[in-house]
């Protein structure tokens, strides 16, 4: 009977250990933030409760050990453990409350809008520069001199990248520029970090305002070079583009 309760506990602990210690060492991976681990563990626990309460028997098998423990019916060493829980539970609540209300020098959690909406005048723009091999090559040349120091070989690993938090965007990642229209990139390159709207706060980007150094035509060429170099296609609504 106790197995119905023990199994979900073991499962939850195993999944926690997997997310906390195994996922970070997988190739091309990194440690998961605690918010995501919490989310996944909540799902595991919810699933366990749902499965355990499908029938009357399994529900009793799941909750009876908890009830027996809490009401002191278990006896033996578990009775002492019950008093321990009784003492520790208020302390846990107190610790949580302290942790969430006490002032701290740690910066708050990140909740940045990475892709804020562009201003109206940049929506619906299409690249006016013909997509010729020459223009793409010219754009790549401009990219190499101006963008590559940070964005590297379109992978966000330029020699200066290590100096930035968050790091420069990786254009080869299919979840970055491949999701955006060319007009969006035009706005971001032209106006840089200082051109971000309030919605994009905190403005954690070192992107220069390239309109001071490049013409609009050159910016469009850089965009073509970027997509070509990263092996991505911009978001369009027309299949022929």
């Amino acid at each position: 009977m106790g197995g119905v309760l023990i199994r979900p506990i073991i499962l939850t602990v195993c999944i926690y250990l997997f997310l906390k210690f195994i996922v970070p060492v997988l190739p091309h991976s990194a440690p998961l933030p605690s918010s995501l681990i919490f989310l996944y563990l909540m799902l595991v626990m919810s699933g366990s409760v749902l499965f355990a309460t499908l029938s009357g028997e399994s529900k009793d098998a799941f909750f009876q050990p908890i009830l027996r423990f809490l009401t002191g019916e278990s006896g033996g060493a578990l009775s002492s453990a019950r008093y321990l829980v009784l003492a520790l539970f208020p302390l846990l609540v107190g610790w949580q409350t302290y942790g969430s209300t006490a002032s701290s020098d740690a910066p708050p959690g990140e909740n940045r809008t990475i892709h804020p909406a562009p201003p109206g005048e940049y929506t619906g723009l299409s690249n006016p520069v013909p997509k010729t091999p020459e223009n793409i090559m010219y754009g790549k040349g401009l990219y190499a001199s101006r963008c590559a120091p940070c964005h590297g070989n379109f992978d966000g690993k330029g020699f200066a990248a290590a100096g930035f938090t968050p790091p420069p965007a990786n254009f080869k990642d299919p979840t970055t520029i491949a999701m955006l229209q060319e007009s969006y990139l035009f706005w971001r390159i032209k106006k840089g970090g200082v051109g971000l709207p309030v919605e994009g706060m905190p403005w954690k980007t070192a992107m220069p305002r390239w309109e001071l150094e490049m013409s609009d035509e050159d910016i469009w060429k850089v965009i073509m070079g970027e997509y070509d170099g990263a092996g991505q296609k911009p978001r369009t609504w027309d299949e022929s583009e």
Binding site: K59, N111, H115, T175
Partner: protein, 626 residues
Amino acid sequence: MMDQGLNITNHGRQIAGRMALLAGCAAALGWIGLPDVAFAQEAAAPAPTAYRDLPYIGSRNLVWVVAQLHLLLAGFVLGVPIFAWLCEVVGWKSGDKRYDKLAKEFTKLLTSSYATTALFGGILLFLLIGFYPKLMAYLTDIFFPSFLVYCGLFLVETATLYLYWYGWDAMSEGNGKKFHIFLGFLLNVFAFFIMIVPNSWATFQASPVVIAEGTDFERAWAATWNPTWWPVNIHRIIANVVLGGYICGAYAGIRYLSAKSAEERYHYDWMGYVGNFIGVFGLLPLPFAGYWLMREIYQYNQQMGITLMGGFLSWLFILQAMLIGVLFLGSNYYFWMGITHRIPGSEGQYRKPIMAMLIILLLCLAVWMTPHSLVASLEEAQKMGGTHHPLLGVFGVMSAKMTVSNLMVLVTFMSFIMYWRAGKEDTAGWAKVAKSVMGAVLVLAGLAVIVLGVWGYFVPAIIRINYFSTSQVGIVIFVMLTITPLTALLLKSAKTTTEMVWGKMPPRAGYSLVLNAVMVILLMTLMGYARSSSRVHWHVYGVMRDSSQYAFSPALGYAAALMALNTFLFCMLVAFIFWVATMGDKAKAAASAKGSPEPGRIPAMAGGSQALDGPVAERSEQQGQV
């Protein structure tokens, strides 16, 4: 000379005195008349009032609450006639009187809900005219012809509803029944148009089409046929069916929990099943309709699309994933409990498939709920190299979300098929082949959905949106269209090994029905906020700017509080309507119960009836089968 001089001086003084008097009078008149002139100027060109406000509460908050309640009530009164009519048709065709009784019971709820919806519509209209006179004048100028159409539709809808409800018993047999069913059909046709006409006003605000020339009718028609009108129409009609189904399920759940006799438990258990089935039936195509709507919004305006899907409103879609996830889990849980409790002896047989389906649902939900930009401390973000996780970040985009939503739809469909087949044994000679075909179709479909989802990362966005996502939807529809008729054919010749026993569900089944309804209401309030906020600081996007003091998007926490308030108020309203509508029945039931007291009449509310939750065999002994 001196006298002459004095005379001249006196004369001069007299003239000066008269001049001073005249000047004084003129000054006094001017002083008195000045405000009149000023007022006259004001009267000549009065500044039009663009906005009015309500102290403490705020005009926007009040309109938000009233509009949301009106929309929720409207969703209910437009969704319920669809399945009330379908139930009536099923009852008429099959001869099963339970369906006719069910249809009638919900039509009774409809009459009182209809009046409340119209009442809230009226309040909303007065508030809009009062708080936003300039905007309303603009919208009236464009849409006046459709206002008239709307009034006409309301008249015919009301007349049809009266005939449909009051003529139920009078038209219960023969041609009368046929005419009654025709009235139900008409009711739904008018209801559909009543929904799409105001949809054009709301969608015009988001994606306006304004033509400067033409007749009033031409201008109204152009504004009505705006880019997001049909996507919203389709999305809303499906969502209304879902809302209606789950609210009826919740009603049945509460009645089941408070049922005191086996008969009542039988009836409301069955009604809960029907409500849940209709809710799930609507829920299956809903993600596809939502996807189409978002695609149209994004294509209409990149700014609005990014505000919703990548900007500050994108967090709403994580909340949406959580709510939809709970809804899918709740609906499946109810099916699984139905197998366990209504079909004695089936628990062990179906435990493993249920566990497999639960695991797939949870994995899909984990992917759906994973945001692209994660909430992380500075230290965590540094370790990840930004707020995108290098490995799990791929779960944060549409290709992954579409894949898992399709898989969840497939699993939910299979839950229903499993429930349908439970307690029956195939006797047809071709049953083995049919089951192999169904298994193969299901596995291949699941794999195809996953392959298309992964492949979607490596093709241009337009290919993914136009072909891959639609193919995924097509595959799921193909599975449904293949497995449903095959199962129906198999079951035609199948032998029933265990009869379905109604009225034996544990109390938590009733609670899960209530929870599903609350989730749907929360979802609708959430997406109502998203749709409205995507216009940001525009009353009419790109045409009429919001220049009021409320021309800012409320913070997500503030919005969440208002959504919760709206959900609570709507639940209270519905509870009140149901209470009023069923007051007479309760009085009748109490009067008849006095004559035949039944021992052990304990409601199951709050787990009061432990007997319902014991082992099946034990319960059968205690209560006997119905």
